[in-house]
């Protein structure tokens, strides 16, 4: 894995693909204390270690390191998200996928997703699992307000808006499940590595 320094306290692990990010994240998260990292943050093709007391030492410790083969399949918890597929953009996604809305729902429910990373808002999880061919274009003009619980698609990702916010993703349904509760022991229902299935509400 390629390592890049990020300022005084950060180290960026550059991965060849999303599966390698999952593998690297799983292992680095487990080793966070040993590596002296305050933050272990995955994204699309990179994992950041931040808050390192001695970034040079951590870089030396990780030089030549590769995550254990199969670490990306170390299964996270499975979360089922009961969903009503009545989103305002269901027709638009069906058009983009050149299929029927019923088929969009079937595909979405048949896919086991994995949370690749969180971002945009607390608890907003970028879930991977759809093939590249089903990449979805964002809305041309983002909505000023997307309701909490909206189930959405954009690029190769699906997500659920954890709280109401502006947003440009295509909305295909909604869930009553609480995705984000800062007062809970685990504030985010969906965390990097969590497996996700969408079911009938």
């Amino acid at each position: 894995m390629e390592l890049r320094r990020v300022g005084e306290h950060g180290l960026l692990v550059v991965c060849p693909d999303a599966a390698a990010v999952r593998a690297a994240y799983a292992e680095l998260r487990a080793r966070a204390d040993e590596l002296g990292a305050v933050e272990v943050v995955p994204a699309a093709r990179t994992v950041l270690l931040d808050g390192l007391a001695d970034a040079a030492a951590t870089q030396a410790a990780l030089t030549g390191w590769e995550p254990e083969p199969g670490a990306e399949n170390r299964s996270g918890d499975l979360v089922e998200i009961p969903t009503r597929y009545d989103g305002p953009d269901l027709d638009e996604v069906a058009r983009q996928w050149e299929t029927t809305t019923a088929d969009v729902v079937r595909t979405h429910q048949a896919t086991e997703f994995v949370v690749a990373f969180c971002g945009f808002a607390p608890g907003f999880a970028y879930c991977t699992g759809l093939p590249e061919t089903l990449s979805v274009r964002r809305k041309e003009a983002p909505r000023a307000s997307v309701p909490a619980g909206s189930v959405a698609l954009a690029a190769e990702y699906t997500s659920v808006y954890p709280s109401s916010s502006p947003g440009g993703w295509q909305l295909i349904g909604r869930t009553d499940l609480a995705l984000w509760d800062p007062a809970a022991g685990t504030p985010a229902l969906l965390m990097p590595g969590t497996r996700v299935r969408f079911t009938d509400a």
Partner: protein
């Protein structure tokens, strides 16, 4: 005796509650937040005898005024300003007593942008994810203060005995380490960056310091896959005008980061006003 509180009479342009923030949750999409001028926060707390991590008020340009229900003490650090307690001028950068019922007026910043008002006992609003900080990006923590808000204070500890020398030379330089994506930029851009003089933009806020100056051109047109972002990251959008990520920055971003500002210079970012000129310096190695 009822618990001590303060009642906000005028929050100015923007006054928020800040402590050392909530690092450790970035993988959930939670910004670190916290005081932009961390040394000023720590100093203000030490002056009144608080833990350095206690929550204080962070003002923006125009100050704040409030009434204290009980006798206590306060200290104001960060941006220099006038301070009046019960209509009498008191010292900046020092612990001063506040009589019960007194109105405290923290004036507009004379030098710098953000003042820090520590009250003995600390602001004791309910913490969220271990911090009382207002996060303007994600809305965690107490909302920006409004007239009439009542904030609880913790129990004050003993006054510190040792005096502190409070002095800061406002340097107008941001030193940065190159990377992680400096290789996305032209040699010319890297030359312009080192020693480049940039003007602080009016749209700057707790999320980012927007700079206008020499255009930093890319040598790659490719789109960067969403990447984790750090405090102090100098992100360069397609217009070539850098943005320095401050404490409420998003945890991920899609533009390449040419360098990262040294943590000692983040206080310069915190105190830079729109229109100020800042010089960027690239550090060797």
């Amino acid at each position: 005796m009822p618990d001590p509180t303060i009642e906000i009479l005028d929050p100015g342009a923007l006054t928020t509650v800040q402590d050392l923030g909530r690092p450790g949750h970035a993988h959930l999409g939670v910004p670190r937040s916290g005081a932009l001028d961390e040394p000023a926060l720590r100093l203000a707390n030490r002056l009144v005898g608080n833990e350095e991590s206690a929550a204080v008020l962070e003002t923006t340009l125009t100050g704040v005024s409030f009434r204290a229900t009980q006798a206590g003490r306060l200290a104001v650090t960060g941006a220099a300003c006038t301070i009046r307690v019960a209509q009498r001028s008191v010292a900046w950068g020092a612990a001063v007593p506040v009589p019960a019922g007194a109105v405290v007026e923290v004036g507009a910043a004379a030098l710098g942008l953000r003042s820090y008002v520590a009250l003995a006992g600390g602001v004791a609003v309910v913490p969220v994810l271990g911090s009382r900080s207002t996060d303007l990006l994600s809305g965690l923590g107490p909302p920006p203060l409004r007239t009439g808000d009542v904030l609880p204070l913790g129990a004050p500890g003993p006054a510190p005995s040792a005096a502190e020398v409070v002095r800061r030379t406002p340097e107008r330089v941001l030193r940065l380490d190159l990377g992680p994506r400096a290789d996305w930029f032209t040699e010319e851009a890297l030359d312009l960056l080192d020693g480049g003089v940039y003007t602080v933009g009016a749209a700057s806020n707790r999320i980012g310091l927007r700079l206008a100056g020499p255009v930093l051109a890319r040598r790659r047109d490719a789109e960067l896959a969403t990447e984790p972002m750090v405090l102090g990251a100098v992100q360069v959008p397609p217009n070539g005008q850098p943005v320095v990520f401050l404490h409420d920055h998003p945890t991920t971003g899609g533009y390449p980061v040419i360098g990262v500002v040294r943590s000692v210079d983040l206080a310069v970012c915190a105190q830079a006003r729109p229109g100020d000129h800042l010089t960027l310096r690239v550090l060797d190695g």
